[in-house]
C-alpha cells in the first residue's frame, strides 16, 4: 500500500466522486441541449439546412450578403467556419438541425455587432429552410436586433 497523508487519500476519493457525478450530470444534461455538449451523442441526426441571408437596410432594401457590403465585409470571412460559410448552399446539418440554426442565429448577432464600418444595414435576417431526418421542409426566420451603427 502507498504511504500518504490521510487528507490526500480523502481528497483523491472526493475528486473521483466529483468527476464521476459530474460526468453523469453532463450525460443527462445533453438530452436537453441541442448541441449535446459532453453528452457523447455523435451523429444524432441526418438533417439539412440552407439559408438566404440578407441585410435589411435603413431604407428598407433587402440586400443579399453576396452583394457588395459597405465596409468591404464578406460573410465567409466574418464567420470563417465551414459550418456557416455559403449559407445559401443546402448542406448537412452540423450535429443537429437545432444546433446548426442556433449557431447561425449567434453568427448573425456576432456579424451585426462586428461590422462597425457598415452604416447602411439596420438588421440581418436569415430565411432558413431545412429537413429533420428527411422530414420537412422546416421553415423559420432569424433576425438580429436593430444595429446602433445604422443611420
Amino acid at each position: 500500500m502507498v504511504d500518504r497523508p490521510r487528507w490526500r487519500a480523502v481528497a483523491v476519493r472526493a475528486f473521483v466522486v466529483v468527476v464521476l457525478v459530474g460526468q453523469i450530470g453532463l450525460l443527462l444534461r445533453a438530452y436537453a441541449d441541442p448541441h449535446s455538449y459532453f453528452g457523447f451523442q455523435p451523429f444524432p441526426e441526418s438533417s439539412t439546412w440552407e439559408a438566404e441571408v440578407v441585410r435589411v437596410t435603413v431604407d428598407g432594401r433587402r440586400v443579399s450578403i453576396d452583394e457588395p457590403w459597405p465596409g468591404g465585409y464578406d460573410w465567409d470571412e466574418l464567420v470563417r467556419w465551414g459550418v456557416l460559410e455559403r449559407p445559401e448552399r443546402r448542406r448537412h446539418a452540423y450535429v443537429s438541425f437545432d444546433a446548426s440554426i442556433d449557431f447561425l442565429d449567434e453568427a448573425l448577432d456576432w456579424v451585426a455587432d462586428h461590422t462597425p464600418r457598415d452604416h447602411e444595414t439596420l438588421y440581418l435576417e436569415a430565411n432558413v429552410e431545412g429537413t429533420r431526418n428527411t422530414r420537412g421542409p422546416v421553415n423559420l426566420v432569424l433576425r438580429t436586433e436593430n444595429r446602433e451603427e445604422a443611420r
Binding site: 500500500m1 502507498v2 487519500a9 483523491v12 476519493r13 473521483v16 468527476v19 464521476l20 460526468q23 453523469i24 450525460l27 445533453a30 438530452y31 448541441h35 449535446s36 455538449y37 459532453f38 453528452g39 457523447f40 451523442q41 455523435p42 451523429f43 444524432p44 441526426e45 441526418s46 439539412t48 470571412e77 466574418l78 464567420v79 470563417r80 467556419w81 459550418v83 456557416l84 448537412h92 449557431f103 449567434e106 453568427a107 456576432w110 456579424v111 431526418n133 428527411t134
Partner: protein, 355 residues
C-alpha cells in the same frame, strides 16, 4: 457487496500500486495525436489568425473575452508540451500543460467543441493525473528507475469508467431514437456522403461498398447492430470473460467509423485508449522457448504492455505458462502470445475464441 469486499476494492483502486505501463503507452500515443488535433489551430495562429477575429461563441457570457494572443500561447505551448509528453520529459508538468492547453482552446468558443476533442481532453487529463512518466520515459532513465512501473492507478480506473460511460451514452442515445435504430439516420448520411466513402477506399472496393451503404434495408439491419456493439463495448470491457471480445469489437467499430466519417484523431485515440483495459500487472506469463525461436524476437519488439517474461532455454519446446498456471504448447502457445501483442491482437484473438 460486503463492507470488507468494498474496502478491498477501494484499496485496489486507490491505494495498491500496480503497473502504470498502459498509461505510459497511452501517454506516448497521445502526444502525436494532440499535435494532429492542434494542427488547424497552429496553422491559423501561424498565419496570424486567432479565434476572436471571426465568429466565435463564448461558453459563458460572464467570462471576460480572452485575448487572441492567449490562444497563440496556449496552442503552441500545448503542442510543444505534447511532444515532450511523448518522450516522457518532465512528464507530470508537460502532460498537465498539454491538458490545460487543449482544454483551454476547446473552451475559447463553443464552435471549437467536438465530441472527439472532449474525449481527447478526458484521456489527457487521466494521463496528467497518473504517474505515467514512471516507465517508458526519459524521466525514468534520468531517475535510474527504468524497470519500476508501479504506481497508484486510480486515474486509470477513473478513465475506465469515463470511457465506458462514453460508449454507453452514445449507444443508449441511439437506442431510444427511433430514427437512428431504424437505420434512417445512417442511410441518409450514407447517401449524402457516399463520395467521401468512395474516396477513402481503393477503387476496386469503392463502387460495391457505396452500393451497399446506400441501400436502405442494409441500414435497417446494421444500425441496431451498431447500437448493440456500443452497448456491448460499454459493459463487456468490465468482465474478464468478455473483455477481449469487447476490445476486438471496439477496434472494428472505430475502424468502420474512420472509413465512413470525419472524426479527426478520435479513431486513433479511442483504439489506443483500449490499452487501459489491460490487466495492470506485467510479465505474469512465462514464455519458454529455444533462443532461435523467432517468437522471442517478436515478443521483444512488440510486447509493449509487457505481458510476458521470456526464458530462452536451448532446445526447449515453445511453452507459455499462463497466469493460472496452465501450460500451452506449440501452436496454441504461439496464438496466445500473438493474441496479447497490441499489433497482432486483432488478427489472432478470434483464432483463440477470446480465451
Amino acid at each position: 457487496m460486503t463492507a470488507a469486499a468494498t474496502a478491498t476494492a477501494t484499496a485496489t483502486v486507490f491505494d495498491r500500486p500496480a503497473s502504470i505501463r498502459s498509461m505510459a503507452i497511452l501517454r506516448i500515443a497521445l502526444g502525436p495525436a494532440t499535435v494532429i488535433h492542434l494542427a488547424p489551430f497552429l496553422s491559423d495562429t501561424a498565419a496570424g489568425i486567432t479565434y476572436d477575429e471571426h465568429f466565435f461563441e463564448p461558453w459563458w457570457g460572464w467570462v471576460p473575452e480572452v485575448p487572441g494572443w492567449v490562444q497563440v500561447v496556449m496552442v503552441w505551448t500545448a503542442a510543444a508540451a505534447a511532444l515532450a509528453m511523448t518522450v516522457g520529459w518532465r512528464t507530470r508538468l508537460v502532460s498537465t500543460i498539454t491538458t490545460i492547453g487543449v482544454a483551454g482552446n476547446l473552451f475559447l468558443s463553443q464552435t471549437h467543441f467536438r465530441h472527439n476533442r472532449a474525449f481527447l481532453v478526458y484521456l489527457l487529463a487521466a494521463v496528467a493525473l497518473s504517474d505515467s512518466g514512471r516507465v517508458l520515459s526519459l524521466d525514468a532513465r534520468r531517475r535510474g528507475t527504468v524497470g519500476d512501473d508501479l504506481a497508484t492507478i486510480w486515474p486509470m480506473w477513473t478513465l475506465r469508467v469515463l470511457v465506458s460511460s462514453v460508449y454507453f451514452a452514445s449507444g443508449f442515445s441511439k437506442l431510444i431514437d427511433p430514427d437512428w435504430v431504424s437505420g434512417l439516420v445512417l442511410w441518409d448520411r450514407a447517401v449524402r456522403f457516399q463520395s467521401m466513402v468512395a474516396d477513402r477506399l481503393p477503387s476496386f472496393l469503392a463502387e460495391p461498398v457505396v452500393d451497399i451503404v446506400t441501400t436502405r434495408w442494409v441500414h435497417a439491419i446494421t444500425s441496431p447492430i451498431a447500437v448493440a456493439m456500443e452497448l456491448f463495448i460499454a459493459f463487456g470491457l468490465w468482465w474478464r470473460r468478455t473483455r477481449l471480445a469487447a476490445v476486438w469489437v471496439a477496434i472494428m467499430f472505430h475502424v468502420s467509423i474512420e472509413i465512413t466519417a470525419s472524426v479527426e484523431v478520435f479513431s486513433l485515440a479511442a483504439i489506443v485508449a483500449l490499452v487501459i483495459w489491460a490487466t495492470p500487472k506485467t510479465r505474469d506469463r512465462v514464455v519458454v522457448a529455444d533462443p532461435g525461436d523467432g517468437v522471442l524476437r517478436w515478443i521483444d519488439r512488440l510486447d509493449w504492455l509487457a505481458r510476458f517474461e521470456t526464458r530462452p532455454v536451448a532446445g526447449a519446446r515453445l511453452t507459455v505458462v499462463d497466469r493460472d498456471g496452465s501450460e500451452h504448447h506449440g501452436r496454441d502457445a504461439r496464438r496466445l502470445i500473438f493474441s496479447r501483442l497490441p499489433l497482432t491482437f486483432f488478427f489472432v484473438a478470434p483464432l483463440r475464441r477470446w480465451r
